[in-house]
């Protein structure tokens, strides 16, 4: 068995339901839909046997939750965009991988658990990604949550645990991150034809990030996560985590062929469909001094140090 897990593709896709439910209402939403469709075709042409999703619209509190229901069935409706329609789903999950991922998390010090309950509310982002990228359930999937309190160390370890489980089971994997770039939406209802990125600043940052993605510089984006959070992320959670997880899961380097298939506004937020294909050789001119992390030791209990 190889020492490296076989990751055939990495995808970064937006969580909003518009490309699924209303691609005809805005040309940009339609282009995002086309990009999803292109990715779906490429996944079908690959011989991947697992789609692993990290969704920023599935928050967790008690550690990290991993979807393990072999056949979740429900009809999902988005909290904000319920008027666009319902999203009935029936997915095929890889319960064996989910359990293996949980074990790998625990072996690296993370608190994790699988969830397998009828009627469990699979989040908008995961539903959109699975329905568009894997509509016929051609390959089994797995979804991991985004813990609201976690930060860099925990996310990187969570990504490494995903690799451990891939390696152990010999999986060929499509890694999918579901996240916006800039995530500030308009706070009022808009005519679909009026959609645009919320501000010029958000747009400039998005384009800079896309330039990095296009050059395959995933690890560099990971290292820039704190800047990205400060500049273009509404502070719903403590950090911009998806790049940390994605980079750690995909090997912590810049050796990819990057392709930005679409970049459009989704009610003001920045939505992009991006593909990263592992390649030889990479680029990068940045140096970083934050430690790499192999094992999560938990909080440092500063309040217990007798400082008060």
């Amino acid at each position: 068995m190889s020492e490296e897990p076989e990751i055939v593709l990495g995808l970064y896709v937006p969580p909003h339901p518009h490309p699924l439910l209303a691609p005809e209402q805005n040309e940009g939403w339609g282009r995002l839909r086309d990009a999803f469709d292109t990715c779906r075709q490429r996944i079908e042409e690959s011989d991947a046997d697992l789609m692993l999703i990290y969704s920023t619209t599935w928050p967790s509190i008690v550690g990290h939750q991993i979807q393990a229901h072999p056949k979740p069935v429900f009809t999902h409706v988005d909290d904000d965009f319920h008027f666009l329609g319902s999203m009935p789903y029936e997915f095929h999950m890889d319960a064996e991988y989910a359990e293996c991922y949980r074990e790998a998390c625990e072996a690296r010090g993370l608190h994790a658990r699988t969830v397998a309950y009828d009627g469990f509310p699979i989040d908008t982002g995961s539903v959109v990604a699975l329905k568009l990228l894997n509509p016929d359930n051609r390959i089994p999937a797995c979804i991991v949550s985004s813990n609201v309190y976690s930060n860099r160390a925990e996310q990187i370890v969570l990504g490494k645990a995903a690799r451990d489980a891939m390696l152990k089971l010999g999986k060929k994997v499509v890694v999918v991150v579901v996240a916006s770039l800039s995530n500030r939406m308009f706070t009022e209802h808009i005519d679909p034809s009026d959609d645009r990125i919320h501000s010029a600043k958000d747009d400039e940052w998005n384009r800079k990030i896309l330039e990095f993605f296009d050059n395959g510089r995933l690890e560099d984006i990971s290292q820039l996560s704190r800047d990205i959070q400060g500049q273009i992320r509404v502070s719903k959670v403590v950090a911009y985590k998806p790049a940390w997880w994605m980079a750690a899961t995909m090997g912590q380097h810049n050796n990819y062929d990057g392709e930005v298939l679409a970049y459009e506004a989704l009610h003001g937020a920045g939505g992009a469909v991006i593909q990263l294909t592992p390649a030889k050789g990479g680029v990068g001119d940045k140096e970083f001094d934050e430690d790499d992390v192999e094992y999560y030791h938990g909080d440092r209990s500063v309040l217990d140090k007798g400082m008060i």
């Binding site: 599935w58 509190i61 008690v62 409706v77 909290d79 009627g119 209802h189």
Partner: protein
């Protein structure tokens, strides 16, 4: 038609643990109990509510999070299973909810008239959030009254705690106008805890009360400060310092519930009835009520 009125305002936290601990027939998991200080407090408040004449319960919940305006449930009935995305091991609740759509539409229209971005939710597949269900079940387990659910606009995330306070106050004033015009007697519910930092691990037996305590002492101090001010009828001051408390304790009031309810009730200067306080997985939870009727107002705890 007589002028409508608010007959009670309730701060009603919604940890699914309390429903889990009650073992109602609608909830699938089984528990050995737990969190009695909260549950017994809820029982006491529910008994009081049974003695009050009212038409509907209006709840603002932080677990229906909307970024594009404030939304209102707009269909008469919701039957479904609600599975808590955070604690699915504790809460898988089969519900049958009746909505006072007329009241919801009146509140929606009043809010829109006040310049607030609004939306009626008319999708029959929509799943009612567990915050609504937990608070309403603990206050009225017979579910014999219609409800109105109002979403939590995330203005704290998009702007600041101060902007949240101002927008929630505007919503509260608009809702009060709708209530007065309706001629109905209404119970308001702010569905949330006080301090809101969770432990990120869970005991093997979640109801093992030997493991339950507040996340840290500063959270407790803030919670007690607020409870004391509630006892003293200083609700204007509570709302004024709420942005600071939210900043310091990650308080769930960031969803706007308490600010909305107090504005609708005109910032009561009479003592709140305190029914209980207890931590749930580290968060601070108080059950309190504001009774505008001096004759029925009680010193509970």
């Amino acid at each position: 038609m007589a002028k409508g009125e608010i007959v009670l305002g309730c701060l009603a936290p919604h940890p699914p643990h309390v429903v889990y601990a009650e073992n109602p027939e609608q909830n699938e998991p089984f528990s050995e109990g737990g969190w009695e200080a909260l549950r017994w407090g809820y029982h006491s408040l529910a008994r009081k509510l049974k003695g009050i004449d009212y038409d509907c319960i209006v709840v603002l919940t932080p677990h229906w999070q909307t970024y594009v305006g404030t939304h209102f449930l707009g269909l008469e009935r919701f039957q479904n299973i609600s599975v808590d995305p955070i604690f699915p091991n504790l809460f898988r609740f089969n519900h049958d909810i009746t909505v006072d759509v007329e009241m919801a539409e009146a509140m929606h229209d009043a809010a829109a008239e006040a310049g607030i971005i609004t939306k009626m939710m008319r999708n029959p597949d929509f799943r009612v959030d567990y915050g609504t269900i937990v608070s309403c079940h603990m206050l009225n387990s017979s579910w014999n009254k219609p409800i109105v659910t109002i979403s939590s606009n995330r203005s704290t995330s998009y702007y600041s705690n101060e902007v949240m306070n101002a927008q929630a106050a505007a919503l509260g004033e608009a809702v009060m106008k709708a209530i007065e015009a309706s001629g109905k007697k209404v119970v308001l519910v702010a569905s949330h805890s006080l301090s809101h930092r969770h432990f990120v691990t869970e005991a093997p037996l979640p109801e093992d009360m030997s493991r339950e305590h507040i996340y840290n002492h500063s959270q407790y101090v803030w919670d007690m400060k607020l409870v004391q001010m509630m006892r003293e009828g200083k609700m204007r001051e509570v709302i004024d310092i709420l942005p600071e408390m939210i900043e310091q304790t990650m308080a769930e009031a960031e969803g706007g519930g308490l600010s909305w309810m107090m504005a609708a009730m005109g910032y009561p200067d009479y003592p709140a009835e305190i029914y209980g306080y207890q931590s749930v997985i580290g968060t601070g939870n108080a059950i309190a009520a504001w009774d505008p009727n001096e004759a029925t107002r009680q010193l509970v705890l």
